[in-house]
C-alpha cells in the first residue's frame, strides 16, 4: 500500500498517543454533545465522532472532540485529521469542511477517497445530532 508519509505518521501518532489525538468518548446523553456514527463493520470501516460545544447566543463553538475509528490505516488517519480541523470552529464553519480538505491534507491515494467521505459524513451526523438537542 503506497500511503503518503502523512497518512503513516498520522496513523502511528494516533495509535501511539491516543489521548493526545482525541481518542475517547463523551457521554452521548449530555446536551452539549453531538454524536455521529457512520459506516458498517462488514464494509470495513466504522467511524464514531463526538463534538462538545459551547454556545454564545446563537453561535455554537466546538470546544472538544473525541473519536473512535475501526478501519484501515487511512480511515484512522482521516478521522484523526478531521478531528484536528474541528476544534475551535463554529458549527457553521465545521459544516464547510469537505472530504477534499482531508484528501489534500493527507495526500490520500484515489482508492482511499471513501475514507474521507466517511469522515465528512461523520461530522455532518454529529452536528445534526447536536442541533436536534438544542
Amino acid at each position: 500500500m503506497a500511503y503518503s508519509k502523512k497518512v503513516v505518521d498520522k496513523f502511528e501518532n494516533t495509535i501511539n498517543e491516543p489521548a493526545k489525538y482525541n481518542v475517547g468518548r463523551f457521554d452521548p446523553k449530555e446536551m452539549n454533545v453531538g454524536t455521529g456514527m457512520v459506516g458498517a463493520p462488514a464494509c470495513g470501516d466504522v467511524m464514531k465522532l463526538q463534538i462538545k460545544c459551547e454556545s454564545k447566543g446563537n453561535t455554537h463553538v466546538i470546544k472538544d472532540v473525541k473519536f473512535k475509528t475501526y478501519g484501515c490505516g487511512s480511515a484512522i488517519a482521516s478521522s484523526s485529521e478531521l478531528v484536528e480541523m474541528l476544534i475551535g470552529k463554529t458549527l457553521e464553519e465545521a459544516k464547510e469542511i469537505k472530504n477534499i480538505d482531508i484528501v489534500e491534507a493527507l495526500e490520500l491515494p484515489p482508492i482511499k477517497i471513501h475514507c474521507s467521505v466517511l469522515a465528512e459524513d461523520s461530522i455532518k451526523q454529529a452536528i445534526e445530532d447536536y442541533e436536534q438537542k438544542q
Binding site: R25, C43, Y70, L118
Partner: protein, 408 residues
Amino acid sequence: MSSNINLPIYMDYASTTPVDPRVAKKISDHLTLDGNFGNPASRSHKFGWKAEEAVEEARSHVANLVNCDPREIVWTSGATEADNLAIKGIANFYQKNGKHIITSKIEHKAVLDPCRQLERDGFEVTYLEPNEGGLISPEAVLNAIREDTVLISIMHINNELGTINDLNGIGKIAREKGIFFHVDAAQSTGKIDIDLSSLPVDLMSFSAHKTYGPKGIGALFVRRKPRVRIEAQIHGGGHERGMRSGTLPTHQIVGMGEAFRIAKEEMDNDKKRIQSLHDKFYESISNIEEIYINGDIENKVSNILNISFAYVEGESLIMALKDIAVSSGSACTSASLEPSYVLRALGRKDELASSSIRFSFGRFTTEEDVDYTLTLINHAVDRLRELSPLWEMYLDGIDLDTVDWQTH
C-alpha cells in the same frame, strides 16, 4: 525490547522462503564458464552431458522426497505452471471422456483460474465448499462426481490456513470411479511426508521457493503406473518427454534438487523445531480476548497459523505491525474491502475475515523472533481496540448484529 534482533521479522514463509545458503552455492556453481553452464539438451559435447547429469541428479532428489520414480517428474517454471499443465493437460487430452471437473473454493488461484478458463472452453466445474475447519471431505467429493467427471483437483495443504486435506480418502474415491486426481502440493514439501508410492494421486504440483529453493522453478508429478497422459501446453522442442518444451534452466533445477534433498534430510528436525515455536506462539496468543483461529487446529501443519482479531481491521493491524512481515486475509486495495475468498468460504463473517492475519514460520525463525512478534501483537491489538468503536460496543454488551448500520 531485544536489541540483537533484525527488523522487520519475516513471518511470511508460506508466501516464499529465503534460499538456503547451501542451495545458493549449488546454483552459483551452474552459471559461469568455470561452472556447469551447458545446455542439458546438447548431446554432442561434455558441457551438455555434464549439465544433463546435474539435471537428472536433481530430478532424483525431488523424486526421493515424495517417493516416486524420477521419470515421473516434469520440470516446470513453478507450481502455477504445474497446476496449469495438470488441469488443462488432462482436460484437453481426455475431453472425449467428459467435460466435468471437481475442485474446491479454497484452492489457490493457480488452480481456480485454469478451471475458469476451461469453463470458457465449454467445461463444467464444481467448486466444493470446505467445512467450517477448512477441509474438503471425501464425501463431498463423492457426492459431486458425475458420469462425465474427468478430473478432481484438490490441494494438499491450504496456503492460507495450513489445513491438511485427506488425500488418501479423496484419492481412493477417484480411483474407484476412474477419475484423475490432481493435487497442488506447493505448501507440503519439507513440512509433511508425501509417499506417492502408496498415495492414490495421479498428478501433483510442486514449487521450489516454498521449500528454500529458488523462485521460477517447480515440477509436476505425472504418474506412469497406471499411466496418466496429458496434452502439452508449451510446444517447442519436445523436452521433458514432450510434456513441457523449453531449454531446462540447469541452475534453477539444481537449486530445487538441492533444496528438496535438504528438505528430506532435515524435515524431522525442522518439524520438531517449528512445532515448538508454533505451540509457544499459539499458547501465548490464545490469551488475547476475542481471537479466532481460522482452520481446524487439529488438522493443520504447524508452520502456518491464521488468526482473526475481532473488532480490529486487518489492514490497520498490519500497519501497526510494521516490524513484522505477515500476510493479511483482506486485500484492502480497492474502494470496497475484499476479505479473503478462502476465509469467506469457511463461513466467517466479513469483518472477521478481514481482520485475519496469517503468520507462517520457517527454518530460520528463532524463538526471539516469536517472542518479539508476540510483544508487538499484544501492543498493536490493545491500541487498535482502544481506538475501535466496535470494541467499545462489545465491552458495553451491545450485539453488533442488532445494530442498524449505515452502509455506504
